[in-house]
Amino acid sequence: MSTHNEVIRRVAPAGHHRINDLLFRLRALVALIVLVIIFASLSPAFLSSGNLMILVKHVAINAILAVGMTFVILTGGIDLSVGSIAGLAGIVAGGLINTGLVLPAFGVVVYFQVWLVILLAALAGSGVGALNGLLVTKFSVAPFIATLGTMYVARGAALLISNGATFPNLLGKPELHNTGFAWLGSGSILFLPVPIWLMAVVGAAGAFLASRTPFGRRIYAIGGNERAAELSGVRVGRVKLLGYMISGFCSAIVGVIIASQLMSAHPATGETFELNAIAAVVLGGTSLMGGRGGVGGSIAGAFVIGVLADGLVLLGVSQFWQIVIKGVVIVVAVLLDQMQKRFSWRERSS
């Protein structure tokens, strides 16, 4: 199938066709450049290094979610539970720092060092991701329904753990050796905030995994034609499971970053994050049908949404217009997606 595509691509689009094709495929990047030019000309503060740093830090939240979401959407699935997993992971981290792990059977309370707390929160997120994967593969529940269910379960679990309250002042105590949680959200390495580094690492790892490994090729193969992939020996269930686990892991990282930035964990954190993540992935050119797109596009999509959000705040635009404009951008992106499909279909049939 792929060789067939290659041949047509190489022969058919000549001249402006090729440029059109390129612009379509990189539309998130094009939109990003246009937005940056608009905001930079309207607000003098926009291009200051301080603002750009904060902007990228804000983008990091959605971009990390979008990287995980890309793996799920590439297989033709969807993950609605990412926001709830972020909330749950934050609560797990907050609870472990403030109250420790209470083991009533042994009558002890265990406190962990911060890196272990983060690891356990990430494990909790991957665990919910694995549950998503099992529901989708072993029990053949439609991804939309399975992750809708875990969305509620994870949110409820977060509320249960904290009894609806916030875990405040996540500073840890020196005598318990669990201080330093703030570094993850507000620390910096080489003048760049830690969340930006995390986005870079997650993005690079995601891009490598998707485009340079057998696992990545299997993800695309499943999204392209699941039956064909299965017949050619791909263990569809296992690959999909891993995809959902990656998404759960990324969501957990986001939850921990937010808890660290606010120095408090709130069980309602992450509501509607799933919609932003899906929007970023779609803006970035990944098809909701699966099999087409990639991690780089999703990160560009997250930047478009983030630049739009922060730029409009900088200009002092009202909340109502911010929502309308965000919606319009998403719809336009999907319209472009449809045009691209028709465009390449015409080429192939001619």
Binding site: A165, Q261, L262, M263, S264, D310
Partner: protein, 311 residues
């Protein structure tokens, strides 16, 4: 298949009759509020439930998550279960009128707390904290802390929410009279801490010299304070609204300067007391519309306050 259906059906009937039996004997009060992930609503529900149990009622506590449709269903359930009274923090001034009227039609008195509805004579009582008076208090303290001059930004609540509008108009009633105070940015953070954190960071970029932040509620004040701390600007004056336990702690620590406490727990207790009076004596002994004043909390008096009430 048929056997399975029968099994499920009989289990359902069993569960329903079980509920009914446990409900009989004592009268019950249904307590319906927005989601408990906001400590404000949790504490009002807890306070109402505690008082109801102390007075010998069963208390059934449910949340409508600001969804008028879900609220309607919960009222239906309360009617079906034969609740003696309903304590309701409603899901919208207009959208809730029908649900309250339905309960009244079933002879169940509804005591509204925290939020009013746009209709008189159908609720047994509407007990709310005076948001406008509270906003004036908060704004006066904010102006005093600012030394009556300097630039500030305002974080608004969800703009479709009545309380968000009432609070901002109260703030401006006071602040607009000071020529030295200049509003340089006004953004909605939808009552959310995460959103307030990000909006505050961006606002600081556009207006690096601001001296104060006035927020429509406490969660947004906490988000703004966290952003200011991260930006190395802890001296910026932050004032919130609600009197949540987290903000009381921040006032003690100095990162937030003041808030306005809504006596939510006291209002909830009052509502249950009035319901009890109506059920036992035939009269609640109070007018339908009751407005309870908010109180200013600052570093000097913070120790006098507990969870949404004066100690």
């Amino acid at each position: 298949m048929a056997r399975k259906v029968l099994l499920v059906f009989s289990l359902g009937v069993l569960a329903l009759t079980g509920c009914r039996q446990s409900g009989s004997g004592r009268k019950s009060i249904a307590i319906i509020t927005p989601s408990h992930d906001n400590p404000f609503f949790k504490s009002e529900a807890d306070a109402a439930a505690a008082r109801a149990r102390a007075l010998g009622y069963e208390a059934s506590v449910n949340t409508h998550n600001d969804d008028a449709h879900k609220q309607d269903e919960l009222v239906d359930v309360a009617i079906a279960n034969g609740a003696a009274a309903i304590i309701l923090d409603n899901a919208g001034a207009d959208a809730s009128v029908a649900a309250v009227a339905k309960a009244k039609g079933a002879n169940i008195p509804v005591f509204l707390i925290d939020r009013e509805i746009n209709a008189n004579g159908i609720a047994a009582a509407q007990i709310v904290s005076n948001n406008y008076q509270g906003a004036l208090l908060g704004a006066q303290e904010f102006a005093r802390l600012m030394g009556e001059k300097g630039t500030f930004v305002e974080l608004l609540g969800r703009e479709s929410d009545t309380n968000a509008q009432v609070r901002t108009s109260g703030f401006h009633e006071v602040l607009d009279k000071y020529p030295g105070l200049r509003l340089v940015g006004q953004q909605s953070a939808n009552w959310s801490q995460t959103e307030a954190f990000q909006k505050m960071e961006t606002l600081l970029q556009a207006h690096p010299d601001i001296k104060g932040v006035i927020a429509g509620n406490d969660t947004m004040a906490l988000g703004a304070a966290a952003a200011l701390k991260a930006a190395g600007r802890p001296e910026v004056i932050v004032v919130g609204f609600d009197g949540s336990p987290d903000v009381l702690a921040s006032i003690r620590a100095g990162s937030i300067k003041a808030t306005v406490l809504q006596p939510a727990a006291r209002i909830a207790t009052m509502a249950v007391d009035q319901a009890h009076a109506l059920l036992t004596k035939g009269s609640s002994g109070a007018a339908e519309k009751q407005s309870i004043d908010c109180e200013l909390v600052t570093a000097s008096n913070v120790d006098q306050f507990g969870v949404f009430t004066r100690k």
